[in-house]
Amino acid sequence: MPDVSLAALAAQIFTGLVLGMIFVLLAIGLSLIFGLMTVVNFSHGALYMLGAYVGFTLLRFTGSFAAALVLAPLLVGTLGLLVERFLIRRLYGRGPDDPLLLTFGLSLVVVETARLIWGKIGLTLDPPRALGGAVNLGFTYFPTYRLFVIAVTALVLVGLWLFLEKTNVGLVIRAGSRDPLMVRALGFDVGRIWFLVFGIGSGLAGLAGILAGPMRGAYAEMGVTIIIESFVVVVVGGMGSLLGAVVSGLVIGQIVSLTTFFAPKLAEIVVFITMAIVLLVRPSGLFGEAGLAE
């Protein structure tokens, strides 16, 4: 057992919060896409990776981190739109496994293409000067950039909530997440909604990538482990539940961070243990609804 000073523990909790925020961004996208389209998007991790790479390239070209932060998710989101329109939509009417399999193949293609375009070794980028350095939080020094990540994610989540709660489109999306058949029966052009949702989900993944990039560097494999962890987060929260994605992301972020502190060897496996326990106790995750994922 390491020395558990309150300061160290507090620092760890903050770290867990940053980790959790990245999970939340990824999980929301995955959950939205699954809830509405019953599509398990295996290429989500690759889109996250693209967000980092595209963002870094934009930063090198424009010199502005703000530009990269805004444009990278938009570009990745646009790619998502294209993927939905030209690949996933063709699978309409087929079994639920086909989109999963297709996006699995897509992830291989995207990762390898990234390696071809940007080279084999990966990119490094430092956060902008203004966000570099550490802030004295009283109990510990904490990197400013990580606080920035927390702030940006919180803002985006609020924006997303407003969009879903206060706009008509948001209403349709929420309804569609809960009962896709009914929404179609009510006469909505589900195709347009899918298009939009896949784009938003992809954009969120891209945003997670550009946010995470300066903390860890960008390399082609960065999406591979995080996609599995993101799936765990979504499943624990309940496929299709946005509240579930948020709660689960934050909780699992803390679990991973604290496990790394107290029992580092278990850090890799704790997400799976958590998921197994949650699923065996609550069949459809914490907030999911039965019948949605079958």
Binding site: L102, G105, L116, I228, I269, M275, L279
Partner: protein, 316 residues
């Protein structure tokens, strides 16, 4: 042509033996043929669960790995002298794993089922990684010496590629025959009923949870046997045997060949491995190639190579 197709459909095991007896001469080198046989068996097991029962699992690597490590540890650590005992121990490990994990995973359906299978496989990977005294950890299990094949009065060493190939052919052939029996039985019919419409099968009075569990266990046994054979082939069991990328590979192979068809798994394994072998020195971007091929198949050839061929021959 249709006559041939019907005949093949009626005598799959015989055709299997005929084709694979000459297979080493069709491919560039023997070890590749052996690889196709072994991964074909692995895919056969996965196909039973996915293609015939309709259950998509992300954790097949667990049973392949249990079979591989079981056989490997028997030979390397327990110094078991007999080939059959070693393979048997690998099978036993896969049986236990399949029975226990299956019990838990099958309590859920759909994507939750799939994620649970993944969780158990990752758990095993973690255990295998850290139990380094037994498994060799991430360096892999080495020190596997393959005993000769012994019959009364005859001992055949399996060191040469060709000898090992024909040994594997016999073992895999027996498994293929077993699968035929399973599919032809009433049990096999219920499996396929479950794939078509699980609720209806229940309504008809079948105990589908018991049937699903049995299917899961059979699938694990095939995977475990394949894993054990691979341990003998490579004389090393890498930790990657338990990693989800191994599970992913068998999914691709089954789909390429044709899920739900009898020979699909072998066709798919052959296509994947021969392609990988030939592409290997042409381009460094093998994942790009296989990913693109896979996407094309999902979009345009969802029945896979064998599935499309046989459907065409049957005039559908």
């Amino acid at each position: 042509m249709r006559g041939v197709a019907t005949w093949v459909g009626r005598h799959p095991v015989l055709c299997f033996f005929v084709v694979f007896a000459i297979f080493p001469w069709v491919v560039p080198y023997t070890s590749l043929a052996t690889q196709v046989l072994i991964y074909g068996l692995f895919a056969l097991g996965f196909n039973l669960l996915y293609g015939y029962t309709g259950l998509l699992s992300f954790g097949s690597a667990a049973y392949w790995g249990l079979g591989a490590y079981g056989t490997g540890i028997a030979l390397a650590k327990l110094k078991v002298g007999s080939l059959w005992v070693a393979l048997g121990l690998g099978l036993g490990a896969a049986l236990v794993g399949g029975a226990v994990f299956g019990f838990f995973c099958l309590r859920r359906r759909g994507i939750y089922f799939a994620m649970l299978t993944l969780a158990f496989a990752q758990l095993l990977y973690f255990v295998g990684f850290h139990l380094a005294e037994w498994t060799g950890g991430d360096d892999g299990l080495r020190g596997i010496t393959v005993p000769p094949l012994t019959f009364p009065g005859l001992s055949i060493p399996l060191g040469r590629s060709v000898a090992f190939y024909y040994f594997a052919l016999v073992v895999v052939g027996l498994a293929v025959a077993a699968l035929k029996r399973i599919l032809d039985s009433p049990f096999g019919a219920v499996l396929q009923a479950i794939r078509e419409n699980a609720d209806r099968a229940t309504a008809c009075g079948y105990d589908i949870s018991r049937v699903k569990h049995l299917s899961f266990v059979f699938s694990a046994l095939f995977a475990g046997l394949a894993g054990g054979l691979d341990a003998l082939r490579l004389t090393v069991v890498p930790i990657e045997s338990l990693h989800w990328s191994t599970s992913g590979q068998v999914v691709i192979m089954t789909l390429l060949g044709g899920a739900g068809t009898f020979f699909g798994p072998f066709v798919g394994a052959a296509a994947y491995l021969v392609l990988e072998d030939s592409i290997s020195f042409l381009t460094e971007s093998w994942p790009l190639v296989i990913g693109a091929v896979f996407i094309v198949f999902v979009l345009f050839l969802p029945r896979g190579i064998w599935g499309t061929l046989t459907a065409g021959l049957r005039g559908r």
